[in-house]
């Protein structure tokens, strides 16, 4: 089916097929690495466990090196004060702070961020479908309030790109040092929490033939869960490739297009949204009356990539929440996430995983408040449980 979609999409627009392939790859890696950005933050505070955060930090480091090379070619003279056209260098202000905070709370309460919800939808988690519906609702609510945010605050804020002050090399060094500092911090949290057990590795037997060896390799790739470090590195590398091809990884803008489009069908869509044409990243996208665009293929590809990976590994299963409160958590958390990503102009991907490698200060601020929000979220779910 993936091939059929590729062929049809390619015939319509080569960009569609390219984004379909990227989406499949992102979804496959997210599922195989069980790579959930929400758990990366949540597990530090809830469990003193930094497994996924270490992979996330490696992905950011890989992204920073790759983005640095691309942006160095896009903007060779940083003293001119111009920005790389498609990098996620976003206006920094209270909306960044509140967006990160709300998104952090919402993702922990919902049990997954937007990318985590998409890949778990592909695994058969019903709660993640509910969370995704909540995200769509939250994005629509943020669209209703967007013009107020734009007039009152965002239009007066600045974008801060590190190479303007310290050049490309300086920005890369500072970014990598900051990521190393975060790594030391999360490892210290792990040690304070007590003994740290390395992940259990399955026993390896000496393959008796070439066929055995190939079967074993295929099993590690398609059946066993990937170690988190290679998964994070591959996600970072895919992000660099996507940025090189067109733009960084991010999709909440596309999801907002679906929300606003659905609202327009029943005549409750917000009016024209101010200032969007001047903003990069995952800003809200008004409904344009079209059904297909390249980002739709990216999001759909992530879902199908995860679905294919889960089926191949024997991990697909329709999982219905046993407790009714889980639906409320998913929906409520999803709405909070959606609103946060609407005003913050992205989620854990666009406003964080693609913004820090863009050497954008907004990525660090969004990430800091994501962490604070996740910490608050862990207190909320402890009370719920």
């Amino acid at each position: 089916m993936a091939v059929v979609v590729y062929v049809v999409a390619h015939a319509a627009d080569t960009e569609f097929s390219m984004f379909w392939v990227f989406g499949l790859a992102f979804g496959f890696v997210l599922q195989r690495g069980r790579f959930c950005f929400a758990s990366a933050f949540r597990d530090i505070f809830l469990l003193g466990h930094a497994r996924t955060m270490k992979g996330l930090l490696l992905g950011l480091a890989v992204g920073a090196v790759g983005f640095g090379l691309v942006m160095g070619r896009q903007v060779p003279m940083t003293s001119l004060g111009i920005y790389p056209p498609s990098a996620n260098v976003l206006p920094l202000g209270i909306h960044t702070v509140l967006g990160g905070l709300l998104f952090g709370i919402g993702m922990v309460v919902a049990g997954g961020c937007v990318s985590g919800s998409i890949y778990r939808m592909g695994e058969g988690y019903v709660a993640s479908w509910v969370a995704f519906a909540g995200v769509m609702g939250g994005l629509l609510v943020s669209a209703y309030t967007w013009n107020w945010w734009w007039e009152a605050h965002i239009s007066r804020t600045q974008r801060f790109w590190l190479p303007h002050w310290i050049g490309h090399s300086g920005a890369l060094v500072v970014t990598l040092l900051a990521l190393a500092a975060v790594y030391v911090w999360v490892v210290s949290i792990e040690h304070r929490a007590g003994m740290v057990i390395p992940p259990v590795q399955p026993a390896h037997t000496q393959p008796e033939s070439v066929a055995d060896d190939l079967r074993s390799g295929a099993r590690r790739l398609f059946v066993q869960g990937w170690p988190v470090l290679p998964a994070g590195a591959v996600l970072g590398a895919l992000n660099v490739l996507l940025f090189t091809a067109k733009e960084p990884w991010g999709f909440t803008g596309e999801v907002s297009r679906w929300s606003i489009g659905a609202a327009s069908v029943v005549n409750i869509a917000p009016g024209p949204l101010a200032g969007l044409e001047s903003l990069p990243g995952c800003v809200l996208v008004p409904s344009d009356g079209r059904f297909f665009n390249h980002m739709l293929f990216l999001v759909a590809g992530m879902f199908f990539g995860s679905f294919a990976a889960a089926v191949g590994a024997g991990e697909f299963k329709i999982r219905v929440p046993k407790r009714p409160v889980r639906y409320a958590q998913s929906l409520g958390g999803g709405v909070i996430m959606g609103y946060g990503s609407g005003i913050g102009m992205g989620c854990t991907i666009g406003a964080f995983f693609s913004a820090i490698p863009s050497f954008a200060l907004n990525g660090w601020v969004f990430g800091g408040f994501l962490a604070l929000g996740a910490w608050i979220g862990t207190h909320i779910i402890r009370r719920i449980d």
């Binding site: 597990d43 469990l47 497994r51 929490a193 007590g194 259990v200 869960g225 991990e315 299963k317 449980d385």
Partner: protein, 65 residues
């Protein structure tokens, strides 16, 4: 995961093991770590399609045996 930790903390001295059945693959990483921190070891076996049985046993039982 949180329910497992809570159940482990509630185990009395006579209760030496806990069995957890889960269909959430990430729990295969988090439960063993948290169990070890509380003095338990874990054995994981696949009990069905995308379902695992995790047997959590007090470490001192193993050592005393």
């Amino acid at each position: 995961m949180m329910r497992t930790v809570s159940a482990l903390k509630k185990l009395t001295g006579d209760e030496q093991a806990l069995e957890v059945v889960t269909d959430h693959a990430p729990a295969l990483e988090t439960i063993p770590t948290q169990a070890a921190r509380l003095g338990f070891r874990t054995d994981i076996e696949e009990s069905g399609a995308s379902e695992w049985r995790i047997t959590i046993t007090r470490t001192e039982v193993e050592e005393g045996a």
